[in-house]
């Protein structure tokens, strides 16, 4: 396995205790050039995770706290008239950073949400007729409160689809929580973190992910999964072709994290809950669907060809 990645993981695990799988998934998402959605209750460490990753990977970091009175220009930036030069000057918004933490994205109105999501998709911002590219790499970690909380505008399915993965952190186990309670203040820990990676190195790794081999046998498996979701009566909709592509990209990154240059079915299974859970909806309980449970059922329902 890549020693740099090892160091990144080790350093992150020092701060985020007892969540190795979620850390790996977040890293996988980054390596696969996707954006990450973290959905969980307040206070379980969503912001900390984003912060630690940015610090450790040596990326410029911006945090945007979403509120219901926010406008698109609060994110993208705005042109202001300069009296001395007599011209309009563009003041870049907080989105012009390599890593964005979009906190509580479902508190903003759909208009503002879509400004962010368009930027995520296009990797550029168009404002007042001028198109400005976003920094490279560009990575968004959005956090979302469970949609049944009050004062939220749930993201529609089409926009959920822009996120490569959705993960949940959940409560730490007893041992990890003990360490958290007894240890040093997290904020101080983060302040002392050192970057473990150059930006160029990260981009090289992202390039490497694309080289990870995917055999026809694995494609058969992915297709079997997609077909099952479309034919089964358990889901409202089947997975889209984009979901299939996302699944492959994530599996490649996961294989690379694991130090392999070929993806195997286990990689697919490892990333499937993250990739598929926000794209699947159970027919039976539309409102409170446990995405992870659905994904696990899906894994068990499809035989590896």
């Amino acid at each position: 396995m890549n020693p740099t990645l090892n160091k990144v993981i080790a350093q992150t695990e020092q701060v985020i205790l007892g969540k190795p799988r979620q850390i790996r998934l977040a890293l996988t998402c980054l390596l696969a050039r996707g954006h990450l959605l973290i959905e969980d209750l307040p206070g379980v460490g969503k912001t900390t995770l984003a912060h630690v990753l940015a610090k450790t990977l040596g990326l410029q970091f911006q945090r945007i706290q979403f509120t219901s009175d926010m406008l698109p220009s609060d994110i993208l930036g705005v042109s202001i008239y300069q009296r001395d030069s007599g011209e309009f000057k563009f003041h870049a918004g907080p989105i012009f950073a390599q890593m964005i933490l979009a906190d509580e994205v479902n508190r903003a109105t759909p208009k503002t949400q879509s400004a962010l999501l368009e930027a995520m998709e296009e990797h550029q911002v168009t404002s007042e007729g001028e198109t400005r590219p976003l920094p490279v790499p560009f990575f968004v970690i959005a956090t979302q409160n469970p949609t049944n909380q009050i004062g939220t505008f749930p993201l529609p399915e089409s926009q959920l689809d822009r996120f490569l993965m959705r993960i949940q952190l959940g409560y730490p186990d007893a041992q990890a929580e003990r360490g958290l309670l007894a240890g040093i203040e997290r904020r101080d820990l983060i302040a002392n973190l050192k970057p473990q990676m150059e930006t160029a190195e990260l981009m090289a790794l992202q390039q490497q992910v694309r080289q990870v081999l995917v055999s026809p046998a694995l494609l058969d498996y992915v297709q079997a999964i997609l077909r099952h979701t479309r034919e089964s009566a358990r889901y409202v909709h089947g997975l889209s072709p984009r979901a299939g592509l996302s699944l492959l990209a994530a599996a490649r990154a996961w294989a690379l994290l694991d130090g392999r240059n070929a993806a195997i079915p286990e990689d697919i299974q490892a990333v499937l809950p993250g990739v598929a859970s926000h794209r699947l909806q159970s027919v039976q309980d539309v409102h409170t669907s446990d995405g992870d449970k659905l994904a696990r059922e899906l894994i068990e329902a499809v035989a590896i060809p």
Partner: protein, 644 residues
């Protein structure tokens, strides 16, 4: 395992579809109870409520069985059996707990499908049952595959049914047809309508309100003119002042036809009517099936016609029938009940006195009917004790039975032997199918008089009053025809075409599907080139055909499986999995190689190194794009040497 709500609804639909057509002939309470039970079951499923208690179900079941025993006075036989079967199947829905119960219900539905054919074997019934079968198959597929959406489920069901078609074709064509009670329909299987063996005022006009097909006829050559088409049925001799009946023939001597000419040959497909007589054109000479030709030229089958019957007949349109008649028979043909209808007798006696020959009397009588203001109508006024007198001198309105009956009474009173013949007259030509349809509405009655030298001569008094009835059918003879059945009136041309198309189809269905009996089977197989047909040979051929078909399907399926397994890497890996499965550690279908290896290693630490090695080699060969040759050999070696 609990059955899901969609599956339960599917089963409810199956039972509903197979029992719905029975509602037409079952007692009302059976249909009502079934509907109530089905609705109850649907409600329980919809709300997710628990099923009723066992004692309650037992009570309902006992009550139903008792009610059937009381209604039908038996639990066996067709009617009671079907009612019992449907009620019990519906009750079974209410104790639907496990998959086993669902399986029983699916098979039961298939069986109840068959019972529907006890009552109707028409094309619509067959199509409806095919649809029902599709629903049953889809439900069965649902049961087998679990959570599959409706569309793929239906696709599997359709494919299964399509695969069954060649198999059922072979069995249909070759299954030995044995004529006998085992294969035949129950005696009471057919609703009947048709001519009866007696005639009273009103009986014919009632029949002419029915649209039902009596029989269909295909002529070998040119069809005779319409006014020649008298389809002979029961011949009525005895008259009691009100009703004409057949009576008993006084002679055993067979009938004789002389001076015959104008032969016609034709094939009749007779709808079952549960009576013995067969129909043929005046006068029949030869028949292809065993039948008795009575002394009065009536054709009688050996047993009541309770299945659709096909026969070829030869008739002569010009003939002399029994020019030498037995005196006893002539005596019968002159008998009149004493004391009735004095006026008519008087009139006939006058005619006899004024005429010099019997032929002249007949002519006088016909002229009388023609000129004295008689009316041909479907709704004549009712007649009293001296019916013929009232008709002749009072109402003067009648249908064919009035004219035929009165004419014969007049002839007998004038001393001319006469009798009533009933049957059908005319028929509708279906130019699409090239055959004639004779409906119950074509029922007719006419007279025959016996003249010296000429024998029995047909005289149709109706023709004297209303020639249109004979030349172009009932609808043109009746000015106000609103009471007639729809098809006997003059429907629009397109509707008539549609109707004839449909009848052509129904005729083909009758001839080739329902009428595919021993005779047809032999003829068909001979034409297909089979020689010396015996039923053993047919059975062998059928088994061989089925075996070949099953073989072909099996080969196709094996080939499909083989293409999946030819992969050598996969084959070797499956071998390892089999070895481990025997040791009680089977691989789950969704388990990847590395996960499986980890599980094995945890269970058998001694195998850890080997199984990790094999899994890694497999993963690299199957997923890692490793070039096969050497890697494969090493992998195969590792698999071969792997031991528990």
């Amino acid at each position: 395992m609990k059955l899901s709500a969609p599956l339960t609804f599917g089963l409810i639909a199956c039972i509903l579809l197979v029992s719905a057509p029975h509602a037409e002939h079952l007692p009302l309470w059976v249909s009502a109870v079934c509907a109530a039970l089905l609705a109850w079951r649907a409600y329980l499923t919809w709300g997710g409520y628990p099923l009723p208690a066992r004692w309650l179900l037992l009570g309902i079941t006992i009550a139903c069985v008792l009610a059937i025993a009381i209604t039908f006075r038996t639990l066996f036989g067709r009617e009671a059996g079907v009612a019992l079967l449907i009620l019990l199947a519906t009750l079974k829905l209410l104790e639907l707990k496990a998959v086993r119960d669902a399986t029983v219900l699916v098979y039961l539905s298939c069986f109840i499908i068959i019972t529907n054919f006890f009552y109707s074997q028409s094309i619509p019934t067959a199509l409806f049952m095919l649809f029902t079968l599709l629903v049953i198959m889809a439900t069965w597929v649902h049961m087998q595959t679990g959570a599959l959406a409706l569309r793929p489920r239906l696709r599997i069901a359709v494919v299964l049914l399509l695969q069954a078609i060649p198999l059922s074709l072979i069995i249909f064509v070759l299954f030995p047809r044995v004529q006998g009670p085992l294969w035949g329909m129950p005696q009471d299987a057919y609703a009947t309508s048709g001519l009866s063996d007696n005639m009273a005022p009103g009986s014919m006009s009632k029949l002419s309100l029915s649209d039902a097909v009596a029989f269909r006829v295909t002529f070998a050559d040119q069809a005779p003119a319409r006014e020649q088409m008298y389809w002979r049925g029961p011949v009525l001799w005895d008259y009691d002042g009100m009703t004409w009946t057949r009576g008993r023939n006084a002679t055993l001597r067979g009938p004789t036809l002389t001076d015959t000419s104008m032969p016609v040959e034709y094939t009749v497909t007779l709808e079952p009517h549960n009576k013995r007589w067969l129909f043929a054109l005046d006068m029949p000479a030869k028949l292809s099936i065993p039948a008795e030709l009575a002394p009065d030229f009536q054709l009688l089958s050996r047993a009541p016609v309770n299945a659709r019957t096909r026969y070829t007949a030869n008739s002569f349109l010009s003939y002399r029938a029994n020019p030498e008649e037995q005196p006893q028979q002539l005596q019968r043909a002159l008998a009149l009940p004493p004391g009735y209808n004095p006026q008519s007798r008087q009139l006939a006696a006058e005619w006899r006195a004024q005429s010099d020959s019997p032929e002249a009397v007949v002519r006088t009588a016909l002229a009388y009917f023609n000129q004295q203001g008689f009316v041909y109508t479907l709704e004549p006024p009712l007649l009293g004790l001296n019916g013929v007198d009232e008709f002749m001198f009072g109402t003067k309105q009648g249908f064919c039975e009035h004219y035929a009956g009165s004419f014969v009474v007049l002839m007998r009173a004038a001393g001319i032997p006469a009798r009533v013949v009933t049957g059908y007259q005319g028929g509708e030509y279906n130019d699409l199918g090239g055959y004639h349809i004779i409906r119950q509405a074509d029922a007719h009655a006419w007279a025959e008089v016996w003249l010296r030298e000429r024998g029995w001569v047909r005289v149709d008094p109706t023709a004297a009053i209303s020639p249109a009835r004979i030349q172009s059918g009932l609808s043109s003879a009746l000015p106000d025809n609103s009471a007639l059945p729809f098809m006997a009136r003059n429907p629009p041309q397109w509707l008539r075409g549609l109707r004839l198309n449909w009848d052509t189809l129904a005729n083909q269905w009758n001839q080739w599907v329902l009428g595919y009996n021993t005779e047809r089977q032999f003829a068909f197989l001979t034409r297909m080139g089979m020689e010396d047909i015996t039923w053993q040979k047919m059975a062998l051929n059928m088994l061989a055909g089925v075996a070949v078909l099953v073989g072909v399907f099996t080969l196709l399926m094996l080939r499909r499986l083989a293409t999946r397994k030819t992969d050598a890497v996969q084959a070797a890996w499956l071998k390892v999995c089999r070895k481990l499965a025997k040791a009680g550690l089977p691989r789950a279908p969704h388990e990847g190689p590395m996960d499986y290896a980890a599980r094995i290693a945890a269970a058998h630490p001694d195998l850890a190194a080997d199984i990790y090695d094999i899994a890694a080699r497999y993963a690299s060969l199957r997923y890692g794009g490793e070039t096969e040759q050497e890697g494969l050999a090493a992998f195969k070696d590792a698999v071969r040497t792997f031991k528990l």
